[in-house]
Symmetry: C2
Subunit: 463 residues, 2 copies
C-alpha cells in the first residue's frame, strides 16, 4: 500500500507496480498461434492415452504391466519420431493385492465394497473378525486411548471436500497415510478409512499408505462412501462386527524405470526444458486420468513442436516417470541420477491431475524472470487461462527440482471431478473429454515452445 495525500486528505491506495512483460518477437508469436490452433485439433496426444490405457491397461508400479508400458511407450515415441528415446531403470520395493474383501457378519450379513491400500500388510490367512470402532477423524483416533482401540477394527469416517484445485486432497490423504500406523500402535486389528475421494458411488479409492517401503505398519483398506454410510447407520443400532481378509504379495526388489524422449535443441542442446507425467498407475482402473492423460498431453504437445520442422533453441525432454504412485520413486531417481546436470534444467512442468481444462498458470521463477511469466500468461489467456502466483510446486515427480533451483510451472487443471475417479476402478479412458484434453495439449505446446525457443533465464533473480 502507498499513502497518498491530496489537499489534506490522505488515502491508502495499492502501489501500482510496473508489470513488465517480456516481448515475444513476431516469428515466434506466429508459431505459437499455429501451435494453439493445431493443439486444439490434435489427435496424437489423445490417441496416446487411448492406446496406452487400452493396449497396456493398468500399470502397477514394479509389475510386468509397467514394464510392458515402458516397452510400449518407447516404441510409440520412436514411431512418432522423437530422438534419444530410452529408459532409465531403477528398482523399487514391490506390493500387489491378491485378496481384499470384507463383509459385515453381525448384526446382519452383507458384503462390502473395499480396496486394500497400497502397502497394507496381510491379515492372517483366512482373515480376521472384530468389532468396528468408529472415529470422525484422524485427530479423534490419535486422541483415543489404546485401551479402547485394542482388538478393534478402526474406522475413520472423515470426508473429503470437493474443490476445483484439489486442495481438499492434502488434508484428506492424512488418514490414508497414518491410520494403520496409529491403529497398530494402539493395538488395533486393522484400519478402515472412508475412501479419499469426492464421489458418492460404490467405488473404493486405493492409494499408498506406506512410505518408501513395500509394506507399512498394518492392515489398511478403504471403503466406498455408501459402505461407510451403511456402517455408520448400523452403528447407531449397536455393535457391528466385520470379517476382513487382505492378502498381499510383496518383493524387496522389482524393476521400474523412467522413459525419456527428446527434441534436441538447435542452438543450446545442453539446456533442458523438461515436461513430464507418470507412466505407472494403480491396478483398479486403467490409469486414464491418473496419469495416462498427463502422458498424452506432454507427448502430444512435444509432437506438435517437433512437427514444426525446425527444432527450438533448447532441448525439450519428455519424461514418463515410473513408480510415482508408490512414493514418487521415478521423480526421486531422476533428480538423483541427473543431480550433476540440474543446473542445465532451465524449466520443468508435469501434467498429473487428469484432463480437465487448465484455468490458471502458476510459476516458480526467480523474481527477475516474472516478465517472462507474464509474457507466457498473456499468450495463454485466449485459452481461458488466468495468471496465477509465483508459488507453483510443479508436479509430484518434479516437486524435488525447485530445491535444486530448477524453475517450474503448474498449469492448474480443473480438478472438480478428478477425485471422483482417482485410484478407483472407474478411472478409464471414456472419462476423458477430448476438447478439454486438447486445450491442455495446446497450452503445453505453447509454454514449452516459448521456454525452449526464447532463451529466457527463468532463474533470473534481479530484474
Amino acid at each position: 500500500m502507498l499513502r497518498t495525500c491530496l489537499v489534506g486528505l490522505c488515502l491508502l491506495v495499492p502501489a501500482v507496480q510496473a508489470q513488465e512483460v517480456a516481448e515475444i518477437p513476431e516469428p515466434v508469436r506466429t508459431t505459437v498461434q499455429q501451435l494453439i490452433e493445431r493443439g486444439l485439433d490434435d489427435e496424437v496426444g489423445y490417441h496416446f492415452v487411448r492406446d496406452l490405457t487400452t493396449e497396456v491397461g493398468p500399470r502397477l508400479a514394479g509389475s510386468e504391466a509397467e514394464a510392458r508400458a515402458r516397452r510400449w511407450s518407447t516404441q510409440k515415441l520412436a514411431e512418432l519420431g522423437f530422438k534419444e528415446v530410452r529408459t532409465e531403470d531403477f528398482e523399487i520395493p514391490f506390493w500387489a493385492r491378491q485378496v481384499d474383501r470384507a463383509r459385515i457378519v453381525s448384526p446382519t450379513q452383507q458384503n462390502l465394497v473395499i480396496t486394500a491400500l497400497g502397502g497394507s500388510t496381510s491379515t492372517p490367512v483366512g482373515g480376521v473378525e472384530a468389532e468396528i470402532l468408529r472415529f470422525e477423524s484422524m485427530a479423534e483416533l490419535r486422541a483415543a486411548s489404546a485401551d479402547i482401540v485394542s482388538g478393534k477394527l478402526v474406522f475413520i469416517d472423515e470426508k473429503m471436500t470437493r474443490t476445483q484445485d484439489g486442495s481438499g486432497y492434502g488434508m484428506a490423504v492424512r488418514k490414508r497415510r497414518n491410520c494403520a500406523t496409529v491403529t497398530s500402535e494402539k493395538g488395533g486389528v486393522a484400519c478402515l478409512i472412508r475412501s479419499v475421494g469426492t464421489q458418492a458411488r460404490r467405488f473404493a479409492h486405493t492409494g499408498m499408505m506406506a512410505r518408501g517401503k513395500a509394506v507399512g505398519d498394518g492392515v489398511a483398506v478403504a471403503l466406498s462412501p455408501p459402505d461407510a454410510e451403511q456402517i455408520t447407520r448400523l452403528l447407531t443400532k449397536g455393535p457391528v462386527r466385520l470379517h476382513l481378509d487382505v492378502q498381499v504379495e510383496t518383493r524387496e526388489k522389482a524393476p521400474s524405470g523412467n522413459v525419456i524422449a527428446e527434441i534436441k535443441g538447435r542452438e543450446n542442446p545442453e539446456e533442458i526444458v523438461l515436461i513430464g507425467c507418470h507412466l505407472d498407475s494403480w491396478d483398479l482402473g486403467t490409469g486414464a486420468v491418473d496419469d495416462g492423460a498427463g502422458c498424452g498431453i506432454v507427448v502430444g504437445a512435444a509432437h506438435l513442436i517437433k512437427s514444426l520442422g525446425t527444432a527450438p533453441r533448447r532441448t525439450i525432454r519428455v519424461v514418463l516417470y515410473g513408480s510415482e504412485e508408490v512414493g514418487l520413486l521415478g521423480g526421486r531417481y531422476y533428480a538423483q541420477r541427473h543431480a550433476d546436470n540440474l543446473d542445465n534444467h532451465v524449466f520443468a512442468a508435469e501434467s498429473d491431475f487428469g484432463a480437465g481444462k487448465i484455468w490458471r498458470f502458476q510459476t516458480r521463477f526467480g523474481e527477475g524472470a516474472l516478465p517472462y511469466a507474464r509474457a507466457i500468461q498473456q499468450v495463454l489467456a485466449p485459452l481461458g487461462i488466468s495468471p496465477g502466483n509465483n508459488q507453483a510446486f510443479g508436479g509430484p515427480d518434479i516437486s524435488m527440482l525447485p530445491r535444486s533451483g530448477v524453475p517450474v510451472v503448474t498449469p492448474r487443471q480443473n480438478g472438480w471431478d478428478y477425485f471422483d475417479l482417482h485410484h478407483t476402478p472407474d478411472d478409464t479412458f471414456d472419462k476423458i473429454d477430448h476438447d478439454d484434453f486438447n486445450q491442455n495439449v495446446a497450452a503445453y505446446a505453447t509454454f514449452t515452445y516459448l521456454a525452449a525457443e526464447m532463451g529466457w533465464d527463468f532463474r533470473k533473480t534481479v530484474n
Copy 2:
C-alpha cells in the same frame, strides 16, 4: 373425428367428448388434502427403506437374507400397527453366484468388471479361455452361422436407450434373456453382454437370464460399459482372448414368500385395494431403488391412511412380494393362491421403478369407470402428475391380475436415472431423494384412500 360443414366448407374436427369426472364429496376431499400434506412430510416410508436396506441389506430371492427380510418386515409392519400381518410361503428354484471373474489374457493382461447373470450355468472349475466374437446386436448373433460362433465367447455390444419412462429396457433386456440360449445352440462357449443399463461407469448390471428355473442354457455374464468399450477397441487391433470363470450354486427348492399386512375395511372388508412392491433384490447392491423404495412408498402410504383413525370403507392390503427378480414368482404365486378371490380385488397398484417423482397416472379400468380415473387424476394434479391413458400394465407382480379382470393403475415414476443403478452394486440407500420419495408416498396415500373410501366400481364397463 367429426365432419363439420359450414357454408359449403367441410372440415374434420376432433369430437369433443364429454369428459365426465366423478364427484368427490367434501369430507373425503379434506381428508385427501391432509394425506397429501402429511405424505410430503412423512418419515415412516423413508425410514422403512432406510432400515430395510441397512439392517437386512441385499435380499437375494430364496436366500437366508430374503427370509430375514420377511421376518424384519413382519415385525416392522406389526409395530406400525397393521392388522393381519402374515407371510404366504412358497418355494422357488435357487441360484446364487459364488465366483464371477474375467480377464483379458491376450493381447494384454487386464482384469474386467463383470457380473454373472442370474441363472447362468458354471464354467468348468478354474474357468475357460477363448477368443471373443463381437456382435452389434442379438439379431446379428441370431443371423450368424454356427461355424463361426462355435468355440467362441460371444460378446453382444448392444446399447440401451435412456428414457424417462424406462421404455428402453424392454428392447435391451432381450439380449440378457436370449444370449446364452442362442450362443449355446450355435456351439459358443459363453455369452458376454454389454450391461443392460444406461450409466457409463464401471458397474456391471446383473439380472435374470433363465425363465422359471434355477439355471438357463449356458454361461452368461454382463460387462460394465467401460469394459465393453475396452474390448471393442482392442478388437480393432486383432484377436482378443478372455479367461472367464463363473461358479454358481443352485438348489431345486428354496423358501420364499410374500409378506402381507392390512387395514381392515369398515364397511366392505371383503373388497380389497391392493398396493404392492417386491421385497427381494439382487445381491450386488442393497436393493434400495429396486425395490426397497417401492416397499417404503406403499408402507408409508398405508400407514398414513391408518393414522387417520377411521378405516376406509374397503380393506387396504399391502403386499411385499418375494422372488420378483427371478421371474415374478411372488406375483404368480399370489394370483394362483388368491385365484378364487380375485373378483374381490377392486383395485391394484405396484411401486417398482425406484423413487423418482411420479409424473403421469395411467389406469386400466372399465370404460364406464373413466370418470373415477379423471377424478383421481384431478386430485393428483397439484403433485405435478398429469393424466395418462387407460392402458396401464400395473407393475411386474400385478401384471397377471388384469387378465382376471382386476383394475390396475400405473403411477409412472421418473426413471431417467433408474437404469444407472438397476441391478448394480451402486443400488444403495443414499441414491434415494427424500422429497421425490415423499411425493410418491403422498400420491399413493391419495389414490389408495380414494379407491378404498369411495366405493367406486373400477370394473364398470358402461357409463
